[in-house]
Symmetry: C2
Subunit: 434 residues, 2 copies
């Protein structure tokens, strides 16, 4: 087999066989196929598309390029949740303890944040003492005993994905449904879960800007999951404005604790209840969605979800006292207050821009090796649809380093729109694909 | 400007501006743009195509990546001829002296052969003593004095073309009209001619297999030439079977001399008269095609064309005695006779296959550094349309090294088809694009 012939085949719009896809993916992962060949192939795949079979086989080839985590020694149905990435999306910290408190084992592998989107690992590391590097044996023991543990994704999982993603990022071949879906799903599948819940974000702060695109991506990923014999459901949810009120690592941990106390912003709470209920069904701890939803609401009200969060922090070396005393979490020395420049209604809070502002304040990474300030970030005082008076607070910017402050303030102001007319209601949960 | 954005633009089917095309071509030529970026861009160009303006500007960018030869100190209108490559195509050796004998200056830069197609330089070097490395000043003096000289294309001409062509060859992005046309025309334009005659080959032994494709390519090239203010005409000619009877370097020199003696095979003679007449018109040494054709036929009959050839060989250091004594040219020690295996008519002589057989006998280069046997090659005794009796000679294979002989014989036999029905006449000159 020659890579030249495979590029030519895909260039001419023909299907690649399973063996040909494996030849390309494994060959590239093993440095046997050169970067320029990979670049040409990825552009041909991007422009001529992969069909459903090819997409499933691409996912499988990426999956088998590295180690597959064996979670079979964990009792019960392991359900994984994946979000396609958003701003202020701290759902994992809430949903994890929630479903674990219902008896569903949560054995989660997470990543760090990059650009305008945060990462679960960074949020957890903002808790003093929290350890994310745990040996696999110990990780499995923790999940068996406590129903929840979160570790850093190992480098040996889907190494082909890392190389392919980097090349796509360099050659403008990222935005293709099959390539995105296979990248996400290969890692999820390699992580060993039995069932997968996908939270596909749509809107200005998401990778998918339109509902149509989000649906297409969700369908591709659900199809891959089912083809690989994993029960898979996708929930398409709004990311036109940031989720909840907090953006930034420690700020989002605080918000997660508030939601687990059955307080906190309505939107993120609503979404977490939805996601957690679906996971409880997938984990077969409830007969149906309604029953699962009741269990979740109960455990939010009776404090069991919060207890599970405290237990989770403690077993991974973090200080459980933060749950009762939020001021033990890192706090920024400076706040800058953003005020409304007119009377009216908030009609727009551009998520991606706000995510970038948070990054500029120190909450996120511009590059892979950027240093984080766990305390930095943004607290939104108003969300889309709220009325404001001129001079009223819209948001607080939290920071220690004021290097980028002026640009950040300017950029934040441009991300907010105030108009005289009240906007229509935001539909948070748009569609379920199963 | 970032190459990423340019790849994305072309990926999405948008036009690239002149500045963007220059940024890509010159950046890649100067090693400022990486191979994987070039590979992705070329695949995007291949699949989304370039429009006429982009094709002209790509040609110009390749042209300006290196030196442009200044032939302005040569008197008269310099007319260059370019063939897209064929088997047994020795027209340059005939047409050059023919038009020079009519007063049109021929200042030709030629290349070596590769694969199944031969190169003019190799044919000339089969003449003992013939020198192709001449200083530019001396070259210009020779053309001014004798109206003809041929040198090796310098490396400083269109260096971007070499890099881009190599990458296209590696990544299956060769067969695109705009990319082919810009590659050919950038080199022609850099060589400094005032007018260009293109011989676009079509058929089994040519790059373009169908008349439709050949026409499209011819139109692209003529458009580029005109846009760059060079009078440009394309003649689309048959390459379904080899041209003339000889394939191989010294064998083709012999055939060229025969044609210049007003003998030799009809097809190659007809084509050379056509091409030479067009060049005389382009060089403004005749009012119209009919007048030019008369001049050419005259100089074939009165020996002036042959005299010019003898003069040309002598001024470049070759032995002019070969013209009177063809046996002074290299001769192979062994001949293998291919005979007809049935009565009937020759209906097919697959050019590319026959070119490969000649290469296997030593007449061509499999790789860029393969060593040539100038005496090796093939003499066809029959052409398409000829009737044969079983056992009658179809061809002679000339060789010194019998390493590949068995495979060559087998391959040659498969390239010949004999049927009971006389095939339709071959149309040698199919179309003029101007």
């Amino acid at each position: 087999m020659r890579i030249y012939d495979l590029i030519k085949k895909k260039r001419d719009g023909h299907e690649l066989s399973k063996e040909e896809i494996i030849f390309f993916v494994h060959g590239y992962a093993n440095d046997e196929i050169s970067e320029y060949h990979a670049a040409a192939m990825l552009m041909a795949m991007f422009l001529n598309d992969l069909n459903e079979r090819e997409t499933v086989e691409l996912t499988e080839a990426i999956l088998t390029s590295g180690d597959q985590i064996d979670l079979s020694s964990i009792e019960g149905i392991k359900v994984d949740k994946h979000s396609t990435g958003g701003v202020g999306d701290t759902t994992t910290l809430i949903v994890g303890p929630l479903v674990a408190s219902c008896g569903v084992p949560v054995a989660k592998m997470s990543g760090k944040g990059l650009g305008h989107t945060g990462g679960t690992l960074d949020k957890l590391e903002s808790i003093e003492g929290f350890k994310i590097n745990i040996e696999m044996d110990n990780f499995i023991n923790l999940v068996n005993k406590h129903k929840i543990a979160v570790i850093s994704q190992t480098k040996s999982v889907a190494p082909a994905d890392k190389k392919i993603y980097l090349m796509r990022d360099l050659t403008a071949t990222v935005d293709n449904m099959s390539l995105i879906a296979s990248s996400v799903m290969s890692k999820k599948l390699a992580s060993g879960a039995d069932a997968i819940l996908l939270d596909v974000k749509v809107g200005s702060g998401a990778f998918m800007k339109t509902l149509e695109d989000a649906k297409a991506l969700a369908e591709e990923m659900v199809s891959i999951g089912k083809n690989m014999n994993r029960e898979t459901i996708a929930v398409i949810t709004d990311m036109d404005q940031p989720l909840g009120n907090a953006i930034g690592n420690a700020l989002e941990v605080k918000e997660a604790i508030e939601v687990l106390k059955n307080e906190g912003p309505e939107d993120i709470k609503t979404l977490c209840i939805e996601l957690a209920s679906r996971m409880v069904v997938l984990g077969k701890k409830a007969e149906n969605y309604e029953e699962a939803r009741k269990m979740i609401l109960n455990n939010l009200e009776n404090g069991k979800a919060l207890d599970k969060f405290r237990e989770f922090v403690e077993i991974q070396g973090g200080n459980p006292a933060i749950v009762e005393n939020l001021s033990l979490l890192p706090t920024a020395n400076y706040h800058y207050i953003i005020s409304a420049n007119a009377d009216g209604f908030i009609t727009e809070l551009k998520s991606e821009e706000i995510g970038i502002v948070a990054m500029m304040l120190g909450a996120g990474r511009e590059k892979i090796d950027s240093k984080l300030d766990y305390s930095a970030g943004i607290i939104l005082k108003k969300k889309v649809g709220d009325s404001v008076k001129k001079g009223e607070q819209i948001a607080e910017l939290h920071y220690n380093d004021d290097r980028n402050l002026k640009v950040a303030i300017d950029r934040f102001n441009k991300a907010v729109t105030i108009k005289n007319v009240r906007p229509g209601n935001v539909e948070l949960i748009k569609q379920i694909i199963e």
